[in-house]
Every structure is written in structure tokens, then in C-alpha cells.
């Protein structure tokens, strides 16, 4: 007869969380595979399998057992404090558990079901540039999101609840303040710089796909990509994923008519290297991933823009790129090339936007989301409001809804409150970058020699390794000594774009 030894509650909680992480690992692979390697006809069976796994994860997590463990662990959390692994683990788990418990499973099911239908409708609506056919789906999603918001205690703005899903502790008021400040700066900047004649016909190639892939591989290898722990594949929409520790997967989309793949590869590398750098002892816990959507985006933008569009980077890489594409780039001087990949060119599509105009695309969406959720804008009036704002902020005439209100998939899949994190990422990226430069000095000189390890290691040491130990704003304060602040970003834009 053996005596059952009750494991301490912390060990039991870690056991449950590790299992949940294993199931998330499975969910991630089911998703990655469906986007990279699954034969088309496998979609229906895959949807069933994914739905089952997702439901099991949810059921297991919101169980009374987890609640009981959290209760038992409250003293330990107080005692160790949130600076400790244990304290942080309990804090984060409690936050997520309490949020998850508030939403009835039926509503979660309705939202994912509605999203499945809406995304198919969006696909067709976008292809036909037919907004009215998408209206009922968006109305339905909006109604579900309002019901979702109602599951939580009242906040200053209902939008706060949605933001909280992606950016813990961020409020609508904070975002509004930052975005208003940016708007005052960006709109005139675009007016000043947007009209310049382009000298970039050479950026339209042709750039053979295999050669582009070679260029991408060289850059990634210099950044720190290894075959031991990384993959790079092709998908229509680039993304990054970490199914498990030491398994980082990036995708890119290569178009022979431009060099966007190179920049999107560096962007996804930024997401990947953040995940790669999380403290290995956090693996199989909720702490083992990036701190928030905005922090994550700050790193993708860092590697895409602050590294990948810098003069130093191109001093190193342009000779190689030119040698890879002698036909198209043979006559293009380095300076001209660098100017072209940093040109300010207002256009209707967010995905094609440059560093300056990008922010306005986001601000526009944030403002419309606020109005939609607040009931001051009807879904059917969206195109008009969209087009007016595009004209106001960017001076752009939207040719049709396909290149306007229908361009993004986010609203169809229920991602409301997500857009602002893109621009917050830009803001944060510069706040962190200032610290990098204060510590490392002239990093562009390092880039010019193809050296990226010092920057990568600095970021790992000061940002990546913490995973989700701290709420995003606290992490930002620990890294930079300050809270969210748009001024460094504005100074950066002024210096770079005048």
C-alpha cells in the first residue's frame, strides 16, 4: 500500500499549465500545417480537429481545479512577489483564468463560428469589392463583441476590454493621447514628404524568386537564424510561430515584382527571435512567450525597419544584393537604393505602407473601431467614413472598397482592438532602440560589418528573456526607465524624414 503524496499546489499548477502548453503546441502545429503543408482537401477534417483541441484547452484551463490551485497559491504569490518566477506565474495565470471564466463557452463558440463564416464572406466581398454583402457579417461580429465586452466589469471605455486582450493594462485614453500626438506630427509630415517624385522603378524587379530566397537566407543567417532551430517557408500571408521551445517558424511571400519579401522576412525574424530568446526555463508555462502584441510588434519593426532599412545595414548588404540582381540593380547606387526603400509614398493599402504613413493607417482604424463599438458609426456607413479619413490623413483617394475598408481580414475574424498594437509597436521600438544605442554606441557601424549579434544579444538580455514575466508596461519601464512615450518616435521620424 503506497501513500499518495499530495504534490505542492505549485507543482500541480505547473503540471496543468505544462499540459495546456503541450495542447497549444499541437494547436499551433495544426494551424501552421494548414497554412504551409496541408493538401487543400484536408481543410474540413482539420477544422474539426482544431476545434476539439481548442475546446479541450479552454475546458481544462477554466476548470475549478485551476481556480482552487490559484487560491491555494495566493500566499505564495504575495510572499515571493511578482519579480519571482513563481509569483509571476501565479499572477499571469490568475489574470488569464479570471478573464477566461467571465466569458461563457457558448459565446466563445458563437464568436469563432461567426468568424469562420465572416472570413469566407470577407474573402468573396473583397474579391468583388462588394462591401454591402459583408455588412451583415460585420454587424453580427460587432454585436457579439459587444456581448463579449458586457461580460466584464464596466470600464471607462468599452473599448478598454478589447484592448486588454492584446495589451494588458493599456487604456483607450492612453492610446488616444498617443495617437493624437502622432497625428499632429504625421499628417503635416506626409503632406511635406508625400508628394515627392519617386525614383524607384528598379524596385519593381524582376527579382527571380530563387535569388530572393538566397538573399533572404543570407540576411537571416547573419541575424542568427540556424537550421537547428528555425524554418522559413512560403505562404500567401507571412507569419511567425513558435510551436515549442527551439522550434521557430517564419514564412514569407515572394513576389518577383518587388523586394517586399526581404523586408517581411526581417519583420517575421523579429517576432521569431523574440520568442527564441525567452528564458528556456519558462518553456511549457504561460510565461514562455512575448509580453504583448505591441511588444512583439516593436521587435518585428526593429528588425525590419531600425535594422533592415538602416544605412548601416545596406552598407553591408547592398553589394551582395546588387551581385545577386546585377541586371536590375547594377546601375543603382547604394544611396539611391537606400532612399528608395525609405521613401514616403501615401497609398490606400496598409500592407504596402512606409514607416511614416503606416501610423496613419492604424490611427484611422482605431478611430473607426471606437466609433463602431460606441455606436456612433453604423457598419453600413463605414466606407464613407473610411474614405473621408484616408483623404484627410493621407490625401489619398480610395479607388474601391477592396483597396479600402475591405483590405484587412482582422474585423472578419473578430480582431477588434488589435490594430492599435501595430502602431504602439513602432512607438515602443524606438524607446527601446534609444537604450540599445546608449549601451552599444554606433550600431550601424556594426551592421555595416554584418555584425548583428551584439544588438540581438542586448535585446535578448534586456527584453526577450523576460517572456511574459512582467505586464507589458512594466517591462517597458524596466527596459527604458519610462512609460509609453511617443516623443522618441517623433524625434526619430523627424531626424529620418525631416
Amino acid at each position: 500500500m503506497s501513500v499518495e503524496v499530495e504534490s505542492p499546489p505549485l507543482e500541480r499548477l505547473k503540471g496543468v499549465l505544462a499540459e495546456l502548453d503541450d495542447l497549444r503546441h499541437a494547436e499551433a502545429i495544426l494551424d501552421w500545417d494548414s497554412r504551409v503543408s496541408m493538401p487543400r482537401q484536408g481543410a474540413a477534417a482539420r477544422a474539426d480537429a482544431t476545434a476539439t483541441i481548442t475546446r479541450f484547452i479552454h475546458e481544462r484551463f477554466v476548470s475549478d481545479e485551476v481556480g482552487q490551485l490559484l487560491e491555494e497559491l495566493a500566499p505564495l504569490e504575495r510572499e515571493r512577489g511578482h519579480d519571482s518566477f513563481e509569483g509571476a506565474l501565479v499572477r499571469l495565470t490568475r489574470r488569464e483564468w479570471e478573464r477566461a471564466r467571465r466569458v461563457p463557452p457558448e459565446l466563445t463558440g458563437e464568436i469563432s463560428h461567426a468568424a469562420g463564416i465572416a472570413v469566407a464572406a470577407w474573402d468573396e466581398a473583397k474579391a468583388a469589392s462588394d462591401f454591402p454583402s459583408f455588412v451583415p457579417h460585420l454587424e453580427r461580429m460587432l454585436e457579439l463583441k459587444q456581448r463579449y465586452v458586457a461580460c466584464f466589469p464596466p470600464t471607462e471605455s468599452p473599448y478598454d476590454v478589447l484592448l486588454e486582450d492584446y495589451e494588458e493594462g493599456m487604456t483607450t485614453a492612453q492610446v488616444t493621447q498617443v495617437f493624437d500626438r502622432l497625428k499632429r506630427e504625421l499628417v503635416p509630415l506626409v503632406e511635406r514628404r508625400g508628394g515627392e517624385a519617386g525614383d524607384d522603378a528598379f524596385l519593381r524587379g524582376p527579382f527571380p524568386a530563387e535569388a530572393q530566397r538566397e538573399a533572404g537566407r543570407r540576411v537571416l543567417t547573419a541575424f542568427g537564424f540556424t537550421d537547428e532551430s528555425w524554418r522559413l517557408d512560403e505562404t500567401p500571408h507571412p507569419f511567425a510561430q513558435k510551436p515549442g521551445h527551439n522550434d521557430i517558424r517564419l514564412t514569407t511571400h515572394t513576389d518577383e515584382g518587388d523586394l517586399m519579401a526581404l523586408f517581411s522576412t526581417m519583420h517575421e525574424f523579429g517576432h521569431g527571435v523574440y520568442e527564441f530568446g525567452v528564458d528556456p526555463t519558462f518553456a511549457r508555462t504561460p510565461l514562455g512567450t512575448g509580453a504583448s502584441a505591441a511588444l512583439h510588434e516593436s521587435q518585428s519593426r526593429t528588425w525590419e525597419n531600425l535594422v533592415g532599412r538602416s544605412a548601416g545595414f545596406w552598407r553591408w548588404f547592398y553589394p551582395q544584393l546588387r551581385a545577386i540582381f546585377p541586371g536590375v540593380l547594377g546601375d543603382v547606387e547604394e544611396e539611391r537604393f537606400v532612399r528608395a526603400v525609405n521613401a514616403v509614398r501615401p497609398g490606400p493599402v496598409r500592407g504596402d505602407a512606409d514607416e511614416v504613413t503606416y501610423g496613419l493607417h492604424i490611427i484611422l482604424r482605431f478611430e473607426l473601431e471606437l466609433q463602431l463599438l460606441g455606436g456612433t458609426l453604423a457598419v453600413r456607413d463605414l466606407p464613407e467614413a473610411w474614405n473621408a479619413a484616408m483623404k484627410n490623413y493621407l490625401g489619398v483617394d480610395v479607388p474601391d472598397d477592396r483597396h479600402g475598408v475591405l483590405q484587412d481580414t482582422h474585423w472578419a475574424i473578430g480582431l477588434l482592438g488589435y490594430f492599435p498594437t501595430y502602431q504602439l509597436g513602432n512607438v515602443i521600438s524606438i524607446q527601446i532602440w534609444e537604450r540599445v544605442r546608449a549601451d552599444l554606441g554606433d550600431v550601424e557601424e556594426q551592421f555595416a560589418h554584418g555584425e548583428f549579434a551584439p544588438v540581438r544579444e542586448w535585446l535578448r538580455e534586456h527584453v526577450y528573456r523576460y517572456g511574459s514575466m512582467y505586464p507589458p508596461q512594466e517591462l517597458l519601464r524596466r527596459i527604458t526607465g519610462a512609460g509609453l512615450d511617443p516623443e522618441p518616435y517623433i524625434a526619430y521620424l523627424r531626424a529620418k524624414f525631416g
Binding site: 505544462a18 503546441h25 499541437a26 495544426l30 493538401p39 480537429a49
Partner: protein, 497 residues
Amino acid sequence: MTNTNLDRLKTLLAEVDDLRKASTILFWDQRVMMPPGGAQARAEALATVGRLTHEKFISQEIGDLLGELDEGDYDYESLEASLIRVTRRDYEKAVRVPPELTGEMRHSAAIALSAWGPAKQNSDFKALLPHLERNLELRRRYVECFPKQAETYDVLLDDYEPLMKTAEVRAIFDTLKEELRPLIREVADAGEVDSSFLHGDFDVQKQREFAFRVVRQFGFTDDEWRLDETPHPFMSSPGEGDIRLTTNYRPTELNSIFASMHEFGHGIYERGVAPELHRTPLGTGVSLGVHESQSRSWENLIGRSRAFWRHFYPSLQETFSEQLGEVDEEAFYRAVNKVHPSLIRIEADEVTYNMHIILRFELEQELIEGRLAPKDLPQAWGERMHEYLGIDVPDDARGVLQDMHWAGGSLGYFPTYSLGNVISVQIWERLKEDVGDVDDQMERGEFGEIREWLRSHLYVLGRKFTPQETIERVTGSRIDSRPYVRYLREKLAPQHA
């Protein structure tokens, strides 16, 4: 009421099936896509999903539902009766094994497998020995979970070939031994067939194109299939409409083509299972033996036939003109069908292959019954190789260490390979009666009618009936080695004519 119970059972089983699919894709990804650094996390994820699948299946609720449902309420042939019958059998087996034992077996297998690689590399049997002993001990404990059978080995066999008895297999194998040993000698006496041209320089990209051409002609489409490359070829079906094969391209030989056809056979079987069986325990091939019958059909009965090569050889010859330009079709046909005793099972020809299996089948029984100690395996192996195939084993790497099965804890698996050979010809004989001009069709590169016959007679059945019932339904008789022996004799006749 019963209907509600049945619906509920179906729902629960569908969820279990979804979890199995997740494991399948995790496993496929591990072998085809995963960066090596991800191995540790993947092992953990697989273990958790595997355990959850098991827990969900042996749940009290499924047990209660099976208690209330009665297959006798439905026509034996109906989906409902099959579902209850097969689930009950699976369930009763699954609940007998304590989860701790399953966990120990899995753990021990994982460790033994990682020891097997280096042990094989260094031909160091002693390094693997403690792991084999441990696996064997766990297998004995596993056997004890089940009611006593006529032979201990019956329990092991049942996992791979449900309801098959050791005595039946022995009878079949004894016949094969008796018939094949003289046949192997006769072939040897008739003189060496020249197959030297099969070893040379075969461009891998061209092999890939050729392998794709063949499987496409068989019925592979990009909509539903994949063909990737791994060191050990395998087939995986992670969901309806999603069949994945792998093959192995070696720059010095053409094995990739045969491996692709072999895996296609496994894949087309899974693809042909009736749609209404999907997301139930019935939605897959009925046993390893029957599965292997299909991989061997497409690899050997089709892929090593004269008619097949009459169609494909001209283009193969053109593709590899440097190697095969001077080799005529008949010489090529003979070379890919050459019978020649050799050391390695997976490289063995159609005839000697069975001797490799029989040897393993016999040793496995002796091991599980304690008549042979694991430490004495190399010697026993060597003696039997000499006796059955007349060859001396130079080292353990090319002897007892060549296969990963025992390290992986699979005892009772090997016989299904040869049973597959036997069953394949039984089915093929029936097919030829119905279809008639099979050879003419293959010569024209037409495989649609063959595929369709196999689908509508065999593949659709999935696990609806027992393996033996399935074989009887398709062929009209029980498992029988005579057609297979006849086939080999006929095929080899011209070789020593």
C-alpha cells in the same frame, strides 16, 4: 433513447479521433518539417496528447454508454453494430492496461530508440541489451494484463493483427518455409541475374520527378496528397482528404520509386475508406497485415510486374539513359525481381523477405516465452540466418541491430509484413478474375479500374469487420498461403528456365 446514446458515443469518439489526428500531424511534422532543436518540446507534446487521447477514450462515460448500447439491436452489417462492436473491443482492451504501464512502456521505448541509433552505428549489441531486457520485461507485464491465451504471443499479435492467433501464423509460415527454401536454392542454382546497372549514378531530382509521375498515374493529386522525403519512408493520413507519403532518394539507386509505390499502397487504402466511417474508430485500415497487403500490391504486384514496366520502362530508360541506355526491358525487369539472399530485411527481394520475417517471428516467441535470453540473440540470429538463407552475419549492425522495432517495444509486429504478402496475392487473384485484362490496362498505364476495384471491395470497409471477415468478404476464403506460393513460383519460373 438508444439513439441518443449512440449519438453521444459518436460525438465522444469523434473527439478522440480529433486528438489522434493531432498526434498524427505532430508525428508527421516531427519527421518531415520540424527543426531538430524542437525535439524535446515535441516529445512532451506528443506524450500529453497521447495520454489525453487514452484518457478520453477509456472515460467512464464511454464505458457507461457501451454498457447501455447493444450491437445486437442492429443488423450485423450496419454501421451502428460495427461501431459498437469495434469500440467495445478496443475499449475492453484499453481499460485493461494501467496508464502507468503504458507510460513506462512509452518511456522505455523512447530511451531504447535513442540508444538503438548509436548501438547500430557502432555494431554494439551490448549497449542496447539492457534496454531490450527492460522492454521485454514491460511486455511481459503487459501480457499479464490480459486473460490467458493459448500462447503468450497471441496477446502481442492481437495488437497488430486483431484476433489472429500465433498458431495460425505458424501454420502459414511453416508452409512458406517449406516452399520457399527449395525455391531460393533453385534460383541460386540457376545462376546470377545481372543487376549491376541498378547501382550507379541516378540524379535525385530526376528520381523525384519519376516517382511523382508514377504515383500521379496511380491516382495521386496535389489536392489531397503530399510526397516528401525522409530517411525512413512512411505514410500518414492526418485527416479526410489529406494523405501524406514520404520516400527516400539515394543518389546511387532507384529504391525511391519502389518505396513511393509501397507508401502509395498504404495511402490509397486510407483514402478509400468510406466517408461515413470518418471520425469514428472504424475510419482506418483494418489491420497491419491487410494494410501491408496493399502496400505490397502497389509496390510488387503492380510495381514489379512486366506489364507495369512495359509502360514505364521506356521513359525510365530515357530519364536515366546513361545508366540504362544499353539495358533492355527484360533485363531490367529481371534485375528488379532478382532473388538473392542478403543480410538486410528492408533490402530483401520478394521471396527471401519472408525468411527474414519468419526468423524474427520465431525469435520473438522464444523471447517472450523466456526460451531465449536477450543476451543470446546475436548468436541465435546468426544461426538462423545461416540456416534459412545460407549466409553468415558479419556483424550485429547488419544482424540483430538492423531494425528499430524491438527497441521501440514492438513485439508481434513483424509477422504482419509477411501476412501482407500472403493476403496481397489472395486479393489480387480475385481482382484479376473480376477485372480481366489487368495486364493490358497496366501496359497502357491505366490504374483507375484496379484502384476502383480495390476501393469498392476492400478499402471502403475500413474497420467495419474483423481482419479475417474482411479477407473473406473480399476473397471468399480465409487467409491462405497457397496463392502466394503459386504466384512466386510462376513469377520465378522463367528466371531459371
